[in-house]
């Protein structure tokens, strides 16, 4: 069920990107889609009552660098977290690029309305 809510968020983003005609709204839609995907990935790795995948002294056998079984059995999945870290930075990069394109289009056309920006016909 939490997955479904996450998917709903994804679909709201898709709806916004496909249907709206204000360019900033389209960008917002894309951003919402990316949030949803990131959240979904992290949720896939969650363990009920789990621990963050960061080792501190309490998770080490005393005096050694051996990890306790407790940590191995409760830690949440670190791999999706690494992926999401990458995905967040990628989405920030594409946000910067698309916003600069928007600003430039605004400079040229004086509007954010994509139905008025129509020199090209697909």
């Amino acid at each position: 069920m939490p997955y479904a809510l996450c998917f709903l968020l994804f679909m709201i983003g898709l709806y916004c990107a496909v249907v709206k005609k204000n360019m900033v709204k389209i960008v917002i839609g894309l951003a919402v889609m990316e949030y949803a995907v990131n959240l979904f990935l992290i949720m896939l790795g969650y363990r009920t009552g789990g621990a963050a995948p960061i080792i501190d002294k309490t998770y080490l056998e005393p005096g050694t660098t051996q990890i306790t079984a407790n940590f191995i059995n409760t830690s949440v999945d670190p791999l999706p977290q690494a992926l999401v870290l990458t995905a967040i930075v990628i989405s920030l990069g594409s946000l910067a690029l698309i916003i600069s394109i928007c600003i430039r289009i605004y400079e040229r056309y004086g509007t954010f309305d994509i139905t008025e920006i129509r020199r090209l016909r697909g």
């Binding site: 898709l14 709806y15 204000n22 917002i28 977290q81 990628i90």
Partner: protein, 184 residues
């Protein structure tokens, strides 16, 4: 705990709906900030503190970037959708995808019991077991992004580099040389 996730998720969905449907562009951008903040809290409760920190700081900078785009512009209210027929078709398609997607989540393991725990020898399990011994980093996420999967991170640095270079190129003042002009 689960009830907290539901509250946060519903908060995010409501913020998303407001962000999509509100007429005020600045308000809409601020609602995106609300989604991001909700997401960050969610990451924190999902035991991903690295992501929570990154998400909140990236959110702040992303908001500054987006507000830069909208503020001091002539905020004529551009509301409404594209032509009616296209809207209806897209809504129907999105609804169909949504209904198909809902069915799909039954195949995933239940929320709170990740798949990697069921698969013996899965990479995540090995990261947790051997991360400290093989890389020396106490933060397992750090050892994954910078050692086991460092190549991905090289790609990620490159993505950021590409987008910044792209933004510089797009925002440059003059794009074509005039014929007479000497090398500028």
């Amino acid at each position: 705990m689960t009830i907290l996730f539901f509250i946060l998720l519903i908060f995010m969905v409501i913020a998303a709906i407001i962000a999509v449907e509100t007429k005020d562009l600045l308000g809409s951008v601020i609602c995106v900030g609300a989604i991001g903040a909700g997401g960050s809290l969610m990451f924190l409760f999902l035991r991903a503190p690295d992501i929570a920190i990154t998400q909140i700081v990236v959110e702040v900078l992303g908001l500054i970037i987006m507000i830069r785009a909208t503020i001091s512009r002539d905020l004529t209210l551009i509301t409404g959708d594209r032509e009616f027929f296209g809207t209806v078709v897209s809504v129907v398609i999105i609804f169909v995808i949504f209904m198909a997607g809902i069915e799909v989540f039954g195949t995933l393991p239940h929320f709170g019991s990740p798949k990697f725990a069921e698969v013996p020898g899965s990479p995540s399990e090995l990261y947790i077991k051997n991360g400290l011994r093989e890389t020396g980093a106490a933060n397992v996420v750090s050892s994954v992004i910078l050692d086991y999967r460092g190549y991905d991170t090289l790609g990620e640095v490159t993505v950021l580099f590409t987008s910044i270079l792209g933004a510089t190129v797009i925002l440059r003042a003059k794009s074509r040389k005039l014929v007479e002009e000497p090398d500028a």
